[in-house]
Symmetry: C2
DNA sequence: GAATAAATTTGAACCGGTTTAAATTCAATA
DNA sequence: TATTGAATTTAAACCGGTTCAAATTTATTC
C-alpha cells in the first residue's frame, strides 16, 4: 500500500492524499472524509522513510552513552524517551563502551542515518574529539552530557560542585570533623568538581583541609573496598566520615570498614553519589547524592529540540546545571533504621 | 553533498558512484580509485534514508520492552546491540511502561518507520494482542521475549522451570525441608513456570508439597517484605528456606525476617531470581538464579536476523530457552562470607 | 447567464539513493 | 583494419512520499 494506491482507490491525485494525511486546510471536508475512509479501510500507514527523504527530517534522535546498562544512563534514556514521545520522535540508543573508535564509528553512522540530532555523553580526555568539533562545524544539532575541554556547546549535566558541597556540609552539620573524600577515576572531570565542592564546604565551616584525607578511588566496588583498607591502615587520624565518588565505591568502602570492626554510621558516616537504586536496598541504607538522571535526559532533549528548530540560526550554547538531591538515609547517621517505604526511591 | 555532486566532480554518472560505494565488481579499478579519492576529499557520506527507500530496508531494528531502566532489559538491550553492531544495524529502543495503548502505538510507529524487524517483550494477559497477530499476518519479522497464549511465533526466553528446579534442589541438598515459594505478580506466566520447577524439585527429593508454603508476592521490595511478615505471622511451621520470584522480593523478605530476629542464612535460607546487580552488593550477598539477559538479547537478535533473511519463506517458529545460572552466594547458607571479588558479577 | 473570485485539485519536479537494459569503450582476434 | 566479445559506463526508471505553480471546479456577484 502506497500513497499512489490510495489515490487510485479514491480517484484523486497523490497530492490530495498527501494533503489529507497532513491535514492540509486546502482539501475539502468531503474529500478528506472519503479518502480517510479508504485509508482506514486498507489500514494504510505512510512510509516514514519516504517522508523523511522528502522532508529532510527523520524524526529520529540519537543517544550515545557509555553503557545503557548503567542505571544512570538508562534512567537518562527514559527521560529522553519521554520528551521524544511527546514529539513523535524515536530514539536510537548506542553505547560507546568507553571505546574511542566506537564513539567515532557510531557518530558517523548516526549522521549517515540523518538522525535529526544527537545527545552525547562524550569520552573525555585521552583523544582529540574531532567528530564533535565536526558536528559543530557542520551545525549538526547536538547536546553534550559532559564537558569537553575546548568545546563550547549545548550542555546538560548535574551540578557536582553543589551536590558535593551539600553532602559535605551535611556531614559537618552532624558534627563530623575528619571527613575523607574518595575520588573517582582519573579521567572524570566530575571528580575534580566534587572535590571543589568538598573543599568549599570545609572552608565554610572553618574545618582545615587535610591533603591526607583525599584518597584515590575509582568507580567500582573494589576501588572503594581498597580505599577503605588503605584508610584504615594509615597511622594518622582515622576519618569519622567519608564522602565517596559514587555508590559502588561507598558500598565497597563500608564493607572494608565493617570487616575491620568499624561501625557505620556509629563510628563513621558514609555518603555516596548517584543513587542508582542499590542505595535503598542495603541493610543499612546508603545516604547519597542523587543525580536526577531522568530530568537530565528530559532537559537535554528539550534543549536539543530547540537547537533543531533553530538549526541555521546561530544561538549561543546553553549550559544547564541540574540540581542534585541529598537522599538522607542511614549511613550518614542522621536517621535511625526506618521503615521500608521511606527508603525506596520515588522516581 | 549528494551522490550527484560527487558524480559531477568525478566526471562520471551517479550510477558509477553508486557502484563505487557498493564495491560493485563492474567498476574499473581506475575509476574506483579516482571516485574514492573525491569521496574522501569531500568527506561524503551516503544518505542512508535515501538508500533505505531504494533498497526497502532501513538497517534499523526495534526493541520494545517494558522499561529499559530495569537492569534485566538494559542488559538485554546490550546483547541486542552487540549483534546489531556486528551487522551494521542500529537499534530503536522503546518502552511500553506496561501500558497497553503505548505498546500499540509504538508498534505502529515502528512499522511506519519501516524498521526491518522487532524484538518485543509483549504485555501478557489482559488484552487481545491484535497488533502482534497483525505482524504475523503481514509476515513482519519479529521475535517475542515472552509467551503469548495462542500465538506461535519466534521466541527467546529463560528456562524458568529448570532455573527454579535448580534453586529448589540446591536448598533441598542443603538439608532444607520446609521451603516456601513467594510468587510473582498475577500476570506473570514466568511465576507459574517457576512454581512448576519448584514442585518438580520437591517431588524429586520426596518432600511433600504443602499449599501453605506458596505465598502471593509480586515484584517489588515491598511485596517481599509483606510476604515475609505474613509468613512469620502464621501459626504453622515456619519455613527454613524461601525461594522468591525475584531479587527485590527476596531482599524485602530478608528485611522482614531480620527485623523479627530471624537470621539469614542461619535460620532461613533465601534464594532470589534474576541477579540484576544488587544481589552481590548486599552485606549478606544474595544467592540467586541469574538470567543471562545479554545472552537472551543476542540470541533473539540472531533469530530475528535469520527471520529477516527468510522474510517471504515460511519457516516454522523457533523457540529458544536459555539456561539460567545459579549464583551461589551467602543467603542460601552454602557459602561463608567471602571475598569482595567473588561476589561481583562477571558479565 | 456571464464574469469574477475563491476553493480545490493536480501534474510534475524533487528528495538521494539503486538498478538494469542499453550504449559505449576497450582489447583481442582474424 | 575490421570484427567480435568482454569490460565498463550510463540514462532512465524507480522507491514513496511532499510541494507548489498552474489548472480546474465551485461559489458569488451583477
Amino acid at each position: 500500500m502506497t500513497i499512489g494506491d490510495i489515490a487510485k482507490l479514491a480517484g484523486v491525485s497523490r497530492a490530495t492524499v498527501s494533503g489529507v494525511l497532513n491535514n492540509s486546510p486546502t482539501v475539502s471536508k468531503k474529500t478528506h472524509e472519503r479518502v480517510m475512509a479508504i485509508i482506514k479501510e486498507h489500514n494504510y500507514r505512510p512510509n516514514e522513510v519516504a517522508r523523511a527523504l522528502a522532508l529532510n527530517k527523520t524524526g529520529i534522535l540519537g543517544l550515545l552513552v557509555k553503557d545503557v546498562s548503567n542505571p544512570l544512563y538508562s534512567k537518562l534514556a527514559l527521560g529522553v524517551e519521554e520528551i521524544c514521545d511527546e514529539n513523535e520522535y524515536n530514539l536510537i540508543i548506542s553505547n560507546s563502551h568507553v571505546d574511542w573508535e566506537r564513539q567515532v564509528k557510531t557518530i558517523n553512522l548516526l549522521k549517515r542515518r540523518r538522525v535529526d540530532g544527537l545527545i552525547i555523553f562524550p569520552l573525555q580526555k585521552g583523544h582529540d574529539p574531532v567528530q564533535i568539533k565536526d558536528l559543530q562545524k557542520d551545525k549538526f544539532p547536538f547536546v553534550l552530557l559532559a564537558e569537553l575541554p575546548g568545546i563550547e556547546a549545548d550542555l546538560v549535566r548535574v551540578d557536582d560542585e553543589s551536590g558535593s558541597y551539600q553532602a559535605t556540609s551535611h556531614l559537618l552539620k552532624l558534627g563530623r570533623k575528619h571527613i575523607a573524600y574518595i575520588s573517582g577515576p582519573d579521567l572524570a572531570l566530575a571528580s575534580e568538581r566534587r572535590l571543589k565542592g568538598y573543599k568549599k564546604a570545609l572552608a565554610h565551616y572553618d574545618v582545615p583541609f587535610d591533603e591526607k584525607m583525599i584518597r584515590k578511588g575509582g568507580w567500582r566496588l573494589d576501588d572503594g573496598y581498597n580505599a577503605g583498607l588503605e584508610l584504615l591502615g594509615c597511622d594518622f587520624q582515622c576519618p569519622d566520615a567519608v564522602f565517596c565518588y559514587n555508590d559502588s565505591v561507598a558500598i565497597g568502602l563500608i564493607r572494608a570498614f565493617m570487616e575491620r570492626g568499624k561501625r557505620v554510621p556509629e563510628d563513621v558516616s558514609v555518603i555516596g553519589f548517584d543513587d542508582t537504586g542499590v542505595a535503598s536496598y542495603l541493610e543499612t541504607s546508603l545516604t547519597t547524592v542523587a543525580q536526577p538522571a531522568k530530568e537530565i535526559g528530559r532537559k537535554a532533549t528539550e534543549l536539543l529540540l530547540k537547537r533543531i528548530k533553530n538549526r541555521n540560526k546561530t544561538v549561543k550554547p546553553h549550559k544547564i546545571l541540574i540540581n542534585t538531591h541529598l537522599m538522607v538515609r542511614e549511613t550518614c547517621g542522621a536517621n535511625l533504621k526506618g521503615s521500608v517505604k521511606a527508603q525506596v526511591p520515588v522516581d
